[in-house]
Amino acid sequence: MKSISLYVDKNSVFHNLHSFTKLFYLLTMILVPAIAGNIWGFAAAAAFSFLMLIICGLLKKAMPFLIFTITIVLIIFIVQGLTYPGNESVMFSLGKVEFYKEGIMYALRIGLNFWNILFAFALLILTTKPKDMVEDCEQIGLSPRFGYIIASVFQIIPQMTGTMSTITDAQRSRGMETEGKLLTRAKAFIPLMAPVVMSSLINTKERAMALEIRGFNADIKKTYLYTRKLKTSDKVCLFLMGLSILSSIAFRVVKWLILK
């Protein structure tokens, strides 16, 4: 069964951190540059996460993240370069179209921040099993029911795709064609989709009963097979990240005082 999660099974600095540390990393990377409010902050943060991706050997796996965003960042550059309200000084022009410095700087800021968040997010997603994160969250109070929903999505989608290929087999073995003209293909949508949908929906009944029997609804305090404790490395990281948030606040306050 092919997993749908982007998790990369590997051993790296980030893999060895607790999921909370990684979540807090994402938060820190969003907060610190935003509080510091300096364009170099965004650049440094983005560069740092990018470096981490390289160190953890995840650059290739992070590509889909990057590709998705190239167009949007381009659009931001064009739109803001042309139409940013504060535009005054022309930076360069392509034929008749003039791009303004203020707009480009603004776009750069948004673009860098966008990538910053994206890389930090990629680090989290590529190095954490969804199931582990859900379990960790459950252990500090996330409702196990909600946890189940998330954890089971990752298990059920591959199972459904598996069922679908079985059913596609069954339909093909009863003579159905899935290739040809648009109409033939459109007609195949229902016999392919309906059985998986029907059988999955029908299976929900039995699965729900199975869960009930196995104590899913029992109001007993749940225990966990896997308990991941914060290691020293996690604590050090958390401490450093907390420190960087505080120093970004201090930086902002000092800047503000100086300006005043």
């Binding site: 993240f65 994206l118 990629a122 029911r145 999505v153 795709t161 929906l201 899913f216």
Partner: protein, 200 residues
């Protein structure tokens, strides 16, 4: 009636239904892509969840769907469309509770309302994120055509989105309607609200 509109049971059956609905969304998208159909068909599950579990469940299906989609594809900037998904889930759920998914004709009315809601939420997102385009070929062709004819950004984007949604959401609701109709009684009775155990 009013009181029942948003009534939601969070029993095991409903909890189990949500992941399956999200799976159905994924499959719809997947099969449409496999068969190279020029449509999304990616919220059939949300609609089924909404019809069976009510508007709240529909909304949850929609929101979690986009969350999971982002996590599993890395497509970060499409997450704002979770608002659209929630809107669709809520609308279908409410329409179904009002009895608008029982007959084919009424389902078409539901489909129309869903289109309106989807367009109303998606267009601003399109404009803000994509400068108004939708990423579906024939919709964007209309967009470019209209823009060249001098039509305003918002209106052109609205037409683009509405055109696609019109076909996509109508098909989605029609498929949902037939699937729910075809479900055996043994399943639908599990999700019906308000049934109590009778004494023999």
């Amino acid at each position: 009636m009013k009181k029942n509109l948003f009534k939601t049971k969070f029993n095991t059956a409903v909890i189990v239904l949500i992941p399956v609905c999200i799976g159905i969304n994924f499959l719809g998208k997947f099969i449409a892509a496999q068969l190279k159909l020029p449509l999304w068909l990616d919220c059939i599950g949300t609609c089924i969840g909404a019809v069976l579990g009510g508007p709240v469940i529909g909304a949850i299906c929609g929101a979690v769907n986009n969350l999971v989609y982002t996590i599993t594809t890395g497509d970060v900037q499409s997450w704002p469309y979770f608002l659209t998904s929630i809107g669709i889930g809520l609308t279908v759920g409410i329409m179904a509770r009002l009895g608008n998914m029982e007959k084919f004709g009424k389902a078409l009315v539901t489909a129309f309302v869903v289109v309106v809601v989807a367009v109303a939420i998606s267009t601003p997102i399109n404009v803000i994120l994509w400068g108004g385009t939708t990423g579906v070929v024939f919709g964007d062709a209309v967009f470019t055509f209209l823009r060249e004819k001098g039509v305003g950004l918002w209106l052109a984007s609205l037409c683009d989105e509405a055109l696609i949604d019109l076909i996509d959401k109508f098909l989605t609701i029609v498929i949902t309607f037939f699937i729910v109709k075809a479900l055996p009684k043994t399943i639908t009775s599990v999700y019906s609200v308000g049934d109590e155990i009778k004494n023999l």
